[in-house]
Symmetry: D2
Subunit: 138 residues, 4 copies
């Protein structure tokens, strides 16, 4: 599991006085990018190699509202990995009191620039696989 920390920005709130729900997808993305970075897989390298990684599915369950200035912990774990897709799960926790605010799940495919599914080259797949294997089950 990889944890990134972020503080809620004013722009992320809405007129209900809490964080707008779409921002959680931004936090999931931050977590996913950091997970891959820690595995040694850099998105810019993938793109330079002609591989993109569109999201094919996303879901989020919201349990409590994040508020302006809250410090959040975004916990990211890999749930599935193959050469054509990867699935991550997420937990967003308020740091001050440990309250679980949201859980989520995303699936990425690997495609070429034209949207055709490609198989992730071994150099990237192996690094993600090693990271995945080291994960504690959550």
């Amino acid at each position: 599991m990889v944890t990134v920390k972020d503080r809620v920005r004013f722009v992320e709130t809405d007129m209900m006085g809490v964080v707008h729900h779409a921002n959680y997808l931004r936090w999931f993305e931050m977590g996913r990018v950091e997970y891959m970075r820690q595995a040694g897989v850099y998105l810019l390298d993938l793109m330079a190699a002609g591989i993109v990684f569109p999201i094919t599915d996303v879901s989020c369950n919201y349990r409590a509202s994040a508020r302006f200035d809250d410090c959040l912990l975004i916990e990211t774990a890999m749930a599935e990995l193959s050469k054509v897709k990867m699935v991550f799960t997420y937990r967003v926790v308020r740091e001050a009191d440990g309250v679980l605010l949201a859980t989520g799940r995303t699936q990425n495919a690997f495609t070429d620039g034209a949207g055709k599914i490609v198989r992730l080259p071994a150099e990237y797949y192996d690094r993600l696989q090693q990271m995945f294997t080291r994960e504690e089950p959550r």
Copy 2:
């Protein structure tokens, strides 16, 4: 079913050259607001009455990428309604060729400003219920 139309903005794209996946939640919101408007339920009235409507669940399945300047049709239908929650489903279709780009589902709860679940007053519930009843099954 209520359809709203929107054109993809430049800011909604990302460096993969397509629309960033988080924007679909913004489109779902546009669709949901318009559905409720057509039922005669205005979010500003709800808020003035002390009722807010946080999203508790969202999911989206992405099938093809929206691109800059595409005209999109966002089709919104109600799937469930009770006095404590409402569920909508969505289809995002590219107008030019009718390709289905994404489907989604959201659930809202009705709460007071402190986040406590409340029952939607009859004046709002009845209007939504009538609109829901008139819906053709999709």
Copy 3:
């Protein structure tokens, strides 16, 4: 002058209960894209020709707050045009009562993909120039 209309979305509000100021830059972009479209210059064509058009300067003066569900008129006029840059000015007006909410100004440069300034080819420049010439001074 080119006018586009847009309705304020819930996601565009912040916890002050009004539209977050960063959204005006999104509206300016909508206006600018539409102005160029009406001149017969399509951003996708420019990009296919290897020309990008980064913003080099932006300013906005906010006079009154846009609120959720307001219908807005975004009025865009060209203020300067050369082969290396273009300047637009904007007015954002609330449709219901004609109140001027904001004025703004942006400058774009024309560059290649590496960020080097390029001269806009005549086929695009001439169309913008004709549109500019037809403009009434504001």
Copy 4:
């Protein structure tokens, strides 16, 4: 001067392959909030006291493009302070090579919830004034 650090997110890029210009306003806001925090002025306290702080003017000059995954330093300094407004200036610098990417300026007014200008109470003004006085001229 107060410096905050942020890393460019994927969602902040656009199809030109660089950060969309509207995101700099989000970074300015982060810098401004942190400056005030270090002065001991918390936006949530201001709002609880019925004071809001709408942006009345913003400008940004873009010199070089931020790219995905860049670590940025957002440097915020106060430029003017009175009981009815505050002006901040910003510099956004890429950490890796010290290149100045953008400079900006914002002005906030202090108002009540209805948009009427109010004078900032001494308890907040004095803290900002002390922080401002300690600033080195830039």
